[in-house]
Subunit: 223 residues, 2 copies
């Protein structure tokens, strides 16, 4: 049975890669910068993204978000408070987003056209394993890690960190009560993905957000 | 392709269920209480389990642990400090433990015989989705949730919470800095799994551990 699973998995990922390549071309032609946010459940992706959406809006940029969860539209409702267009993807038991789900939810998204957007954020299902195998056509994959989770997560989940373009450490306001070892976390991230850009942030205090926004603005420049 | 996936998945889960049923019979005959600990990465399963293993040892009980991770043997090394026999299962990319992995790692576990054990803890791979579909032959499935993760996790991951026999809230020492809404978390847990036993714990302060240990001792009594 193992061989059949490996073969089927290869087929699924190949089909996903083809769809993702089509999406990537579509995003590039439309001039929209697409980011795929991946982390454990509870890392604070939604709070971080809400702050990001608000800040981009204040700077006159047009951003939208697709948000994946097994169930509930809690996150879409939270994010919509930022004023940005947000659409929930409920996967109903599937542990990751795939390119087909993204494609389907782009179609018929009322009031949203890719050409009118500067940024599209895709908040993946909270999971450090499965989403790392599924390309969504993004240009930037962001791995998020909170100070409450332990410094060894990059070593334990190398697949995600190794395939990411940026890493965001969240909840740094809790670093002291959690006894977070910053040097060790940075060392572990760099061991898996040497030279990756790392942002140290707090959605509560706003720490690190200026640097993150400068990165977003810089990445959105046509190369 | 969807139909093929559904069929194959059904086949895999059926095979797993059969293996798990065999394991369950083996555990029952040996008189060992088996618990499967499931949570998000970074919830603090290992710290909680280390404290549990130490406390059981002090009470003269014999406990051992199998611990699942994609990579590294960090957790096995941490847990071994408790003096209990511990064996690491590295899944190398697989996002959950299955009954076959458990069975294989019970075989040839030097110095450990199921008959000599009172408790066997299985620390699953950090993931709130996939492990919930895989029965490991456990008698008690424990869903863990830290105060840092957000009170809505039971609603977002109903599959796990609905299939669990007990819920453990971890890191309650961080409840105040995190602004944890205890009533809401308990309400959400009970909405998914009415009447489930809930333990509110901290591996840092030891809070809630007496109640958890009393539960373990009570559950180990032959019915």
């Amino acid at each position: 049975m193992t061989t059949r699973i490996v073969e089927l998995r290869r087929g699924i990922l190949k089909k996903n890669d083809e769809l993702a390549a089509g999406l990537r071309q579509r995003f590039t032609s439309a001039g929209v910068l697409v980011l795929n946010l991946v982390s454990s459940p509870g890392t604070g992706k939604t709070a971080f993204l809400e702050l990001t959406l608000r800040a981009l809006r204040e700077r006159g940029a047009h951003a939208a978000a697709l948000v994946g969860d097994l169930e509930t539209d809690n996150d879409a409702r939270r994010l919509a408070a930022s004023g940005a267009p947000v659409r929930q993807i409920n996967t109903h038991g599937i542990c990751h987003l795939d390119a087909e789900m993204v494609s389907k939810h782009l179609d018929g998204w009322e009031g949203v056209s890719l050409v009118g957007l500067d940024y599209l954020f895709i908040e993946n299902v909270g999971n450090l394993v499965c989403p790392s195998s599924y390309d969504l056509g993004e240009r930037i994959r962001v791995a998020l890690l909170s100070v409450t989770e332990g410094e060894d997560k990059p070593l334990k989940y190398p697949g995600l960190f190794n395939s990411s373009d940026a890493a965001v450490i969240t909840k740094i306001d809790l670093a002291v009560p959690c006894g977070f070892d910053r040097e060790l976390a940075l060392k572990n991230i760099n061991e898996i993905r040497p030279g990756i850009r790392v942002f140290e942030t707090s959605a509560k205090t706003g720490a690190g957000m200026d640097e993150w926004l400068a990165y977003l603005l810089e990445q959105a420049q046509p190369s």
